[in-house]
Amino acid sequence: MKITVLSLLLVLLVSAELAAGSSGISLKDAILALSGGDVPPDVRTIVTEIRATRAVSALLAGLAVSVCGLVMQTLFRNPLAGPYVLGVDSGASLGAALFMLGAPVLSSGAGAFFADAGLAGSAWTGALLSMLLVAFASRRLKDIMTVLILGMMFGAGVDAVVQILQFLGDRSSLRSYVMWTMGSLGTVSSGQLPFLAAAVCAGLLLAAVSAKPLNLLLLGEEYAETMGLNARRTRYVIYASAVLLAGTVTAFCGPIGFLGLVSPHMARAISGTADHRRLLPYTAAVGGILMLSCDLASRLCSLPVNVMTSLAGVPAVIWIVLKNRR
């Protein structure tokens, strides 16, 4: 029932994304253009190349970072975990920065597909490395807060390295990098979209098949093992899922703050369950809704979407922190 309401909201927001824009194309024309109806060619181009691409990438980004946040919170048994706060996004950014600033020859010489693949690949590598670092820290240190602080420190260190790269980089690669850091969803091209969609779907699939292991992990790895869970294999699958989700979105849309932390909590509050088989779709829906709303708001105010998610995310994070203190 509640999931139906959430889905309707999603449809509504996607329609709003399709209808909103400066060129004055109505929702009806937009739908006609998408369904192959009789519309002028420039209308078709605007709708498919710009609006639909943007709507789909916002939806995918929202689903991806939220589900990533959920699996990280369960895996690390940390209610404040998320790809952004634990530095996984920073790792992905570093990978992307190294690629964009360090290998401009590579990225310009090769075709667009290889440039995208290289960007995604380096972001995945960076995300994976930071993920392993967080995993190592949280296995050694049982204290949630210490792990969070380490994640923040790691993020700060990475930012410093990125700034050094910016300082040393040449002008054209620097420009493309700065554009990327402000990364709005509008920068995702329709050529990049299939790549983004495929990687996000793969990540979501890995998360979905991990629903039962994630439920067992609610009691901690030790308990999960005594209930028949192959903890090591599960951990690898979940890492892969999180890296694909957070890494890909960071590579193509830039780092998206706090959404990954907030959506799982809202999903828990709405659904009233801790069962991942139900929580995963709820989290994905909430993530999509939040991301699309932030994107619409950012377009209204002409601000980068990352600014919007941070502005909306900070009070929500404070709510979560206070809720967990009780």
């Binding site: 039962k212 067992l216 609610l218 009691l219 030790e222 005594t226 209930m227 028949g228 369950t273 801790a274």
Partner: protein, 251 residues
């Protein structure tokens, strides 16, 4: 039946306990006692298959626990750790249903037989009425009962519990011990629990496993040995007997 043969237990290259031999029959409730740091948890974690034995072996009905897969082992032994478990939003029923994980498919769907096992486990520990209650709205004692019910639902011939009464009040300790007793006598399980509650263990357990001096000794109802194991490091002029000091703490 559980058989321990020349078992050494410990971490990495450091053996905490060695040269242990014991046979624990089914339908028995075994209390593991010993001082803090004597190696009770190490022993129990090794018996549960969470720590690989450094030497020797642990046999459940003749099967070496290191020779089977994690899932097969989960059908032989269930485990309750010292950790307090409380998952917000998880209902008592869902918590207990997690114990059916070794028997369910990849999605974790419960068959009617699984549902029946969950219902039976809840009624064995007297928690039927709590099935729909969320864990964040339950007391420590109720949560602990749910965690034990989960181990019961796992339907294993052996259950190992590491200090299951540690953070419970007196009525809940008695209740836990009596539930364990009835599980061993009525369900025919081998139940091994560690505790510092010597008088509680005296009242309910069939035998003591005393952990001391890097080894174990098995004795049926050896109160003197059990007390000695608890007192050992205090020396003759140390604090009063643990029995007495616990009563002072309680009242």
């Amino acid at each position: 039946m559980l058989k321990i043969e020349n078992l050494s237990a410990g971490y990495a290259r450091h053996a905490v306990l060695s040269g242990m031999d014991a046979v624990l029959p089914s339908s028995s409730l075994v209390a593991v006692v010993g001082r803090n740091g004597s190696g009770k948890s190490t022993l129990l974690r090794t018996l549960a298959g969470l720590l690989p034995p450094l030497g020797g072996c642990v046999l459940y009905d003749g099967t070496d626990i290191t020779s089977v897969t994690v899932t097969e082992r989960a059908r032989m032994i269930s485990f309750v750790s010292t950790e307090r478990v409380r998952v917000g939003g998880l209902s008592c029923h869902d918590m207990v249903a997690l114990g059916r994980a070794p028997y369910t498919d990849w999605r974790g769907r419960l068959s009617p037989a699984d549902e029946e096992a969950v219902r039976k486990a809840l009624s064995l520990v007297g928690m039927e009425r709590y099935a729909d209650r969320k864990m964040d709205r339950m007391s420590d004692g109720e949560c602990q009962m749910a965690v034990i019910a989960r181990a019961v639902a796992q339907d294993t011939p052996a259950i190992i519990l590491d200090e299951p009464t540690a953070f419970l009040d007196y009525p809940n300790r008695c209740r836990t011990a009596s539930v364990l007793k009835s599980l061993s006598s009525e369900e025919g399980k081998t139940i091994i629990w560690s505790t510092h509650d010597i008088d509680l263990a005296m009242g309910y357990s069939d035998c003591f496993m005393i952990v001391r001096d890097g080894g174990i000794s098995l004795d049926s109802r050896d109160l003197a040995g059990a007390l000695c194991a608890e007192k050992q490091e205090n020396g003759p002029s140390g604090p009063p007997s643990p029995l007495l000091s616990r009563h002072i703490r309680l009242h």
